[in-house]
């Protein structure tokens, strides 16, 4: 029911219709922060009020979206990008909370040094830098003085903090990929960030001993080449994913080496999800593997293991682990492609030893198998010991011999009446 009102002047009507411009500044910041930087800055030409609304946005993200990729040559695109960042930083006012720079034509240049210096003066909390190409970019020392950092993500960088560096007091999340840093720098970095909750390390070099002393760590994801990994004080660590990309040297299997599997789990009492990738199982198998862990992993409900089913030590380690995880709900076994010269393992996974070992296991995936004896025995083993199994998914590495594999699978007895076996074509 509209009341009759006197006709308004056009200005007045427009200001009444314009509900957007008068939203509070922090709300406009929030809206503009969710736009690509290009769109956010272009709002400056909308109207008088909008000229500088973009200038206070707390998140600055410069990525592949902000410079149109045309057929122009690389240096031109790079110059454009440098121009854009320079302009934006200069016209921006107010705190910069998040800064991300990730463009494929960006090389490690002195411009970045300058930008990081500017950023470091503005209480930045999230910093992401990805150098897609070229050599490792040496991060300037001013970055290490950003004590408000909560999340730091670097790709293809070289870290050499100044001697005065005492850690990031507030850092909760650290993501370093394709980075170089020295051993002592690494250890110092980890131990001097007491709030650290998430750590991701991929393809690192410069250090080979991973001594993780992080009392608040909850998430740990690494993939690379290392000699050993040791946890200390990591009682909250719940999600772990470790990939050792290089085969363990055989001289490490000499007797007298304490079991790495044991050492690994000592400081992980509350682990919930564990992924053992590449050759890490082989690493864990070094030393005398016990039949079960002294303390079971009561919280472990998801386990993913890359395993060579023909290798005895690995199977032993896997068995130990499986025996020590009474509450496992989801299991994934990935077969590592056959290595030449390996023996054949048989009769390892025998059925009737440990009844209802997997009392909670519901979902199983076994991928990349080639139909060898040991694999089939393992599948049989799982089927017979999982009373509440719902679904088992099997995927071969290649289509050859698939029919024979399926014929074998059909014969296996299942402890769970509800179990489905799903055979996926490779």
């Amino acid at each position: 029911m509209k009341q009759r009102e006197p006709p308004k002047s056009p200005c007045k009507i427009e200001t009444e219709l314009d509900k957007l411009s008068n939203l509070p500044a922090h709300v406009i910041d929030q809206i503009l922060s969710q736009l690509p930087i290009k769109d956010a800055v272009r709002t400056s030409v909308l109207s008088k009020k909008w000229r500088y609304k973009w200038a206070t946005i707390p998140h600055l993200v410069f990525d592949n979206l902000c410079v149109a990729i045309s057929s122009q040559e690389q240096t031109l695109v790079k110059n454009k990008l440098v121009n854009i960042v320079d302009h934006v930083l200069l016209l921006h006012t107010g705190p910069i909370i998040k800064f991300k720079l990730s463009h494929r034509d960006l090389l490690g240049v002195s411009d970045i040094d300058r930008w990081i210096l500017h950023i470091s003066r503005s209480s930045i909390k999230e910093f992401i830098l990805e150098i897609w190409k070229g050599q490792r970019y040496k991060v300037p020392s001013c970055l290490f003085s950003c004590q408000n950092l909560i999340h730091l993500e670097l790709f293809n960088c070289l870290l050499k903090p100044p001697s005065t560096f005492k850690g990031f007091r507030n850092l909760k999340s650290l993501d370093l990929q394709h980075i170089t840093l020295a051993q002592d720098v690494f250890e110092n970095l980890i131990s001097s960030c007491p709030m650290l909750e998430r750590l991701t390390l991929m393809n690192f070099d410069g250090f080979t001993h991973l001594n993780i002393d992080a009392p608040n760590l909850q998430f740990f994801d690494i993939g690379g080449v290392f000699d050993d990994v040791n946890f200390e004080n990591t009682f909250h660590l719940a999600l772990v994913s470790i990939g050792l990309y290089v085969n363990v040297k055989t001289d490490q299997t000499a007797p007298g080496n304490s079991c790495k599997l044991l050492r690994f789990f000592v400081h992980l009492p509350h682990i919930r999800r564990l992924e053992i990738q590449s050759y890490f199982l082989k690493y864990l198998a070094v030393g005398n593997v016990p039949s079960r862990l002294p303390r079971p992993c009561a919280d472990l409900n998801y386990l993913s293991v890359r395993i060579n089913f023909n290798e005895l030590e690995e199977n032993l380690a896997a068995l130990c682990l499986l025996r020590s995880s009474p509450n496992l709900q989801e299991l994934e076994m990935l077969a590592r492609p056959e290595e030449a010269g390996m023996g054949v393992l048989t009769n390892f996974w025998e059925v009737d030893h440990w009844n209802s070992m997997f009392s909670q296991l519901r979902i199983v995936k076994i991928l990349g198998i080639s139909g060898i004896r040991s694999e089939l025995e393992f599948i049989n083993f799982v089927l017979s010991n999982s009373p509440v199994l719902e679904r088992m998914t099997i995927k071969p590495a290649s289509p050859e011999g698939g029919w024979d594999l399926v014929k074998e699978l059909l014969r296996f007895r299942r402890a769970s009446v509800r179990a489905e076996i799903i055979y996926l074509d490779s």
Binding site: L20, V27, Q30, R42, L46, S47
Partner: protein, 383 residues
């Protein structure tokens, strides 16, 4: 039964309500668990003990009108139920957010005043999605934003310069660049043709400013300044949108008329054409920039000389083939002339003198020289 008695009898079986009052005075009661989902209401209830009865209804902020309150309560009613899955919530949110942009803005404002952050996040994301990828006109139209950057007091070179770094700004409005006081060349590392034109324009203007100071032919010039400035102003005011398409077509279609005795006529023509966006799509000065780019750069001296001696040149962007000038009858002409003069006087008194000068300078660039023959047709002769 009185309220007190009712409160005594099995209180745990009665649903408790919170009383809320919107800025228009209307009071309503809302289930407690729903209302408490809003942090502001929660604070009022817990820390100030408000909302328990009609007399102590919580006064909601002004930005929350009854319609918005109803929407917000719908949102709260759904989300305060703990058992819902993420998928359900997301699905509800997506349906909930479907409304026209005006309501969306009001909802954002209301949710913010109630400190209901999840809803603010949802609505601001929706607004961002609407803004993303659109041209300035589209955005202005959707949100009813005034296109007021053409005013003198408004712009500076900065936002435009920056916008030029993102070269897909549609309708890059050079108009307000020209108000940049310094006429300093913009750095053109991206080799944007518009910046190139602009720099040439600035160079020309600077040159002409100097020359104008030398040639002190006050009387004729002042009169002309007035006239031209009116034309310029009119077309300037109307010439907001400029498409690259329009530029191109203008290059082909423009006609320049040189009036001998009837400066006011041309003004009137401009006046009658003010409503036609197409025809006035180009600011005269812009056009000169385009043209200047195309033709010889030594326009400054020739045009000035021309100004002094010849008749009034009127710059017009004419996209129509009809020669309107010749068809206005004298009586109407006079009337229009008078109106235009009044208008000119009013405008001239408001606008800074400098602006007039600058705008009128645009007039002086005439790469194509036309003359009007006795019968009103135009002969174009290239130079």
């Amino acid at each position: 039964m009185s309220e007190v008695e009712m409160a005594v009898i099995k209180p745990e079986m009665m649903k408790s309500y919170i009383w809320l009052q919107t800025a228009d005075g209307a009071i309503q009661q809302v289930e407690q668990e729903v209302a408490m989902f809003c942090p502001l209401i929660c604070h009022e209830v817990i820390h100030k003990g408000m909302g328990s009865s009609k007399n102590y209804a919580i006064s909601l902020p002004q930005r929350v009108n009854p319609a918005m309150l109803s929407l917000i309560l719908d949102y709260c009613r759904f989300h305060q139920v703990p058992g819902r899955s993420n998928k359900e919530r997301k699905s509800f949110d997506e349906k909930f957010i479907r409304m026209d942009t005006k309501r969306l803005c009001e909802l954002t404002s209301a949710a913010d005043s109630l400190q209901l952050k999840p809803l603010v996040d949802l609505t601001s994301r929706a607004l961002a999605r609407i803004i993303e990828g659109k041209s300035p006109e589209e955005i202005r139209e959707i949100f009813h934003l005034p296109d007021d950057l053409t005013e003198v007091s408004g712009a500076c070179g900065n936002c435009v310069c920056l916008a030029s770094q993102f070269p897909y700004v549609y309708n890059f409005n050079i108009d307000y660049i020209l108000q940049e006081e310094k006429l300093e060349p913009l750095k053109n590392t991206t080799d944007d043709p518009r910046i190139r034109l602009l720099n040439r324009l600035y160079a020309k203007k600077r040159k002409e400013l100097k020359e104008r100071e030398k040639l002190k032919n006050v009387e004729v010039e002042e009169e002309r300044v007035d006239e031209r400035s009116v034309d310029d102003l009119l077309s300037f005011i109307n010439g907001k949108e400029r498409d690259s398409k329009v530029i191109k077509s203008s290059k082909n279609k423009k006609k320049h008329r040189r009036k001998k005795d009837q400066p006011k006529n041309t003004c009137s023509n401009e006046a009658t054409k003010t409503h036609k966006q197409e025809s006035n799509g180009l600011n005269l000065v812009c056009l000169s920039a385009e043209v200047g780019y195309k033709f010889r750069p030594d326009l400054g001296e020739s045009s000035n000389v021309q100004n002094v001696e010849d008749d009034i040149f009127v710059r017009k962007v004419d996209f129509e083939d009809v020669d309107v000038d010749d068809e206005i009858d004298p009586a109407l002409k006079e009337k229009i002339d008078r109106e235009v003069e009044d208008f000119a006087r009013r405008l001239n008194s408001d606008w800074p003198e400098r602006m007039q000068e600058i705008l009128s300078l645009g007039q002086d660039m005439r790469p194509l020289h036309h003359s009007i023959n006795g019968n009103g047709t135009i002969t174009k002769y290239a130079k």
